[in-house]
Amino acid sequence: EPEVTQTPSHQVTQMGQEVILRCVPISNHLYFYWYRQILGQKVEFLVSFYNNEISEKSEIFDDQFSVERPDGSNFTLKIRSTKLEDSAMYFCASSGWGGYTFGSGTRLTVV
């Protein structure tokens, strides 16, 4: 069964550093997403991406965040200057007609 692949599974970074989270969506899916889950809380939508541009973003997705599809397979989330409160699980997902699939997540720890 096709999978959404996320790397790394766990990343520790210093406050103020830039971090890039990577995702490989399912190949025939056209929509890509990032979600965030702070420990003990619900999963929150960050951004959706279609046809090489952002289609929707939440209030959480401020100027510190950016997304990119640098080639035909990868989809990245960049946090420019990490804060302690950015510590969370970040999920990538992709969707097409009939399917919506999550990756296994990247646990980001900001110290």
């Binding site: 889950q37 619900k42 999963v43 929150e44 939508f45 959706s48 969707s95 097409g96 919506y100």
Partner: protein, 116 residues
Amino acid sequence: AQTVTQSQPEMSVQEAETVTLSCTYDTSESDYYLFWYKQPPSRQMILVIRQEAYKQQNATENRFSVNFQKAAKSFSLKISDSQLGDAAMYFCAYRSGESSGDKLTFGTGTRLAVRP
């Protein structure tokens, strides 16, 4: 904006018994999808079951079934013959059916404990 409410922060069930997790939602749309996701301690999001709003028949997947009440905007999950491996966080989620590219809106989750 759509909202999803899970009013049970925690539930507990005896192994082999049946438990029902509640979910209500608010929307003005007629075409949408509803989901239940399981999140074990690994924090992976695992799809348990999905329901299309246009389908009157309740979805079932082995021991998991839903009670979908469209008029009441209720979408409960029933787990039959509960197993120790069912212990996890369960999230109810809503997605608009207007395109294949809409975000999921999640509830706050219900933590299910299974007693041996």
